[in-house]
Symmetry: C2
Subunit: 190 residues, 2 copies
């Protein structure tokens, strides 16, 4: 499957800004793939598709969660969390992408999870640090991404959970498990 | 069972400072019990015993965790988290306290958990706001405790998790579940 064909199918699903963000995630993820020795073609495919379901109607996403094997507890958390898991399903059904590694990277790109694969980490991180992102602390994560994939993902995870708690919102369990898992790996278990 | 007898048995288990803290937790918890309509006698018993296992040797606490029905994942988190759960067991075995509500308040006083009982909330909160505690944000929690038990517990839980993450340490799942559960109850589900 050619990535250019996929891009043509992804584009009409997104707003102009979101599509541009998607291309920046692709470029950032490709750099990370090269730096950390991951399959660049697969990474680019995952990056291009990571927000595929972003603008699906909430009703449709809800239906996919109910009708699929996706965890039902998603329905009790903010709908912003739905497009990753639903995107993993729709990119298989609608775009014919059937690579569990890619699907999983799309699924977990917002929350992360415990025991992320390298591909999952790269998409999770690229989505956070692509050059269009501007918020306090992002430069520290970009710097870490130059030399330590785990540490950069840990910072991403920690910043994300702390940001959610600062806003007094719920934190999906996978976000929290990602934080604990990466903290263990960075700190050696404390 | 008379609380004065229990106090006499708790005192030699603690340092002087920790014993004074314990008495302040008792007084704070008694006030909260009165304010929020909870059994004052039970609350005082739970408060007096909450740190009972605090200075047990780590090896002994570890053994209790392994030999009892306590969750084994405690062993993968900081030993500071062990004295609550182990205290719940030891106060039954050594002090003869056999009230599941009291035991549970001792068990969860450090982390909280989802669906806390009123007694659990009062001990969790009293331990955090007793007058000897001095740290940024404590006054806001004391103020909240004057009129809204749930909100005060939510602040306690949120502050605790954020503090742990600021120190880059692991967060025990119950702490996180307490935060999400209380956030739902405060915010109405977001």
């Amino acid at each position: 499957m050619k990535i250019d064909d996929i891009i043509l199918q992804v584009k009409p699903q997104l707003t102009v800004e979101r599509f541009e963000h998607t291309l920046r995630v692709r470029d950032t993820a490709a750099e990370l793939a090269e730096r950390y020795g991951e399959d660049k073609e697969k990474i680019e495919l995952a990056a291009v598709c990571h927000d595929y379901a972003k603008y699906r109607p909430l009703d449709e996403m809800k239906r996919w969660i109910i009708q699929s094997t996706l965890p039902k507890d998603l329905l009790h958390y903010h709908h912003e969390l739905w497009h990753g898991p639903v995107g993993a399903i729709l990119t298989e059904r609608e775009l014919g992408i059937k690579d569990p590694g890619i699907q999983s990277a799309i699924h977990y790109h917002t929350t992360g999870r415990a025991n992320m694969s390298k591909m999952e980490m790269i998409i999770f991180l690229a989505d956070y640090i692509e050059p269009g992102r501007q918020f306090p602390g992002v430069q520290e994560v970009r710097d870490a991404a130059e030399e330590d994939l785990l540490k950069a993902c840990w910072l991403t995870s920690r910043n994300t959970v702390r940001y959610l708690m600062k806003k007094n919102t719920l934190v999906y369990p996978d976000s929290f498990h990602a934080y604990n898992d990466l903290t263990r790996k960075i700190n050696g278990g404390h």
